[in-house]
């Protein structure tokens, strides 16, 4: 089991240093996850670390292709006042 980074990733590096298994690879056009290294963090943390810090919705997906940060999940609540 492994997560995947797909198009839309802005190469911001936030996920790279957090990965407990150094599974995230600096690549072009966008960063990638090494499926042989990624454990979805089950052995290390309560939640996949890359997905917990990624600032872009929809670019980290599970094996079913479902985004861990679905549309709307990271945007601020509707404008105050």
């Amino acid at each position: 089991m492994a997560l995947e980074i797909i198009a839309g990733c802005v190469n911001c590096w936030a996920c790279v240093t957090l990965c407990p298994h150094q599974a995230i690879i600096e690549a072009q056009p966008h960063f990638l996850i090494d499926p042989l290294r990624c454990t979805e963090c089950v052995d290390a943390h309560a939640t996949p670390q890359c997905a917990a810090i990624c600032p872009v919705e929809g670019v980290i997906v599970n094996e079913l292709g479902d985004p861990l940060n679905p549309p709307g999940s990271l945007s601020p609540p509707a404008r105050f006042g």
Partner: protein, 498 residues
Amino acid sequence: MPTPSTSNPTAPISGCASGRCGSSTQQIDELDASTAQRVQDHPCYSEEAHKYFARMHVAVAPACNIQCNYCNRKYDCSNESRPGVVSEVLTAAQAVKKTLAVAAAIPQMSVLGIAGPGDALANPERTFATFAELSERAPDLKLCLSTNGLMLPRYVDQIAAYHVDHVTITINCIDPEIGAQIYPWIFWNHRRVTGREASEILISQQQKGLEMLVERGILVKVNSVMIPGINDQHLKEVSRVVRAKGAFLHNVMPLISDPAHGTHFGLTGQRGPTPQELKALQDDCAGDMNMMRHCQQCRADAVGMLGEDRGAEFTLEKIEAMQIDEHAAMGRRIALRAAINAELAEKRAARHAASAQVIALHRATVSPGRPVRMAVASSTGAIIDTHFGHAKSFRILEVTADSVHTLGTRAAAQYCGGEADCGEADNTLARTLASLADCEVMLCSRIGIEPWGKLEAAGIRPDGSHAMEDVASAARAVWQAMLESGQLANAPAHQRRA
């Protein structure tokens, strides 16, 4: 997809785009002496120094651990760079190489900063590896870093260990309700935290980090982004609080909001301030604190004099080919710095002499200003060495144009005598305030934020900026500053109220 507006870095820009300099050269003169000494060859902090000294940033810190609504993370941190800019990320080893090459080619180089492109402390390994190596190989360079503050308390001791002497914290608010409109989430303890809770954590980490840095004698500058309708009024309070805690400069920057940058604020139509609004706020905060107005929000990989970017001369490829004698280069930098500082010192002295003459002329013709009563927290009466809360008594001075008289000593109700006293704190503070009611100024080495506010409310201005100075000369300087700012034309606040 909008293309990042990497303005052509080879285009020569003059060192000082003088039209952009808003503050007076007096700015540095107004800082307390030891701070002025430490910032005088820092181009970002000293209006004067930025014409003589150069700085560079190395982009070793790409990651960020929070989200600001004015930031699109495709680009560099908008707290530190103009939005829409992209810097090439370096490893620590590349950054060290680049720094040594630049510092050999530009002997005016005095400051090496890490300001992103993300957050310096969200990339602690690269940031500190860079500092560690440079503090060995170019110990004459000043190190500085910029941070959103989230991880500051954890790294303060490391920052101190590498003798980093300037830290910039971006503080946009101290009220989590306001914070919730600026920060949608933070990454904290291995999870994403959203909403008000995120701002509560961020704000408390920033404030704690600020206090810890000041305790360790590290200079702290605070940056704030002015967001009309969200934090514009609130920033005056921010200014007051960060000054009371010991920040030496507050730099208010305008929100730059462009839909093309793809930020949340850009897309929702949140506007930036007009130049008039920005100036009005900067003036308001300046009454409170030394403001910096020549900040140009440099790129995270800026190289050269402020306002210019010579980055293109120092690409990794070009650096590889350079032969550098590190030791000789350092010698050249130190010699040049000494020469420039001597020249600047002369100019400063001339400026002081000129203002002294003006005062002398005034003295002959116009009223020299009324006497001012001041309270001083000092253990011996000679040096301002005592924390307001620890003072057992206050010396009361009467300061006039040409004399400093001691009127006597008044016992303080000690309000901060340890935990046992805590319930009594308000009461004892009130008694101390009553005993100082006729004073306009209270000089001490340090003071807490609570009593600061209460003294101000009682019309007694607390002043901790003359810590460890001679009592008589500090009192003179305070009186002189009051005279020059016109405060001695009116009756003291407590008499006006009465």
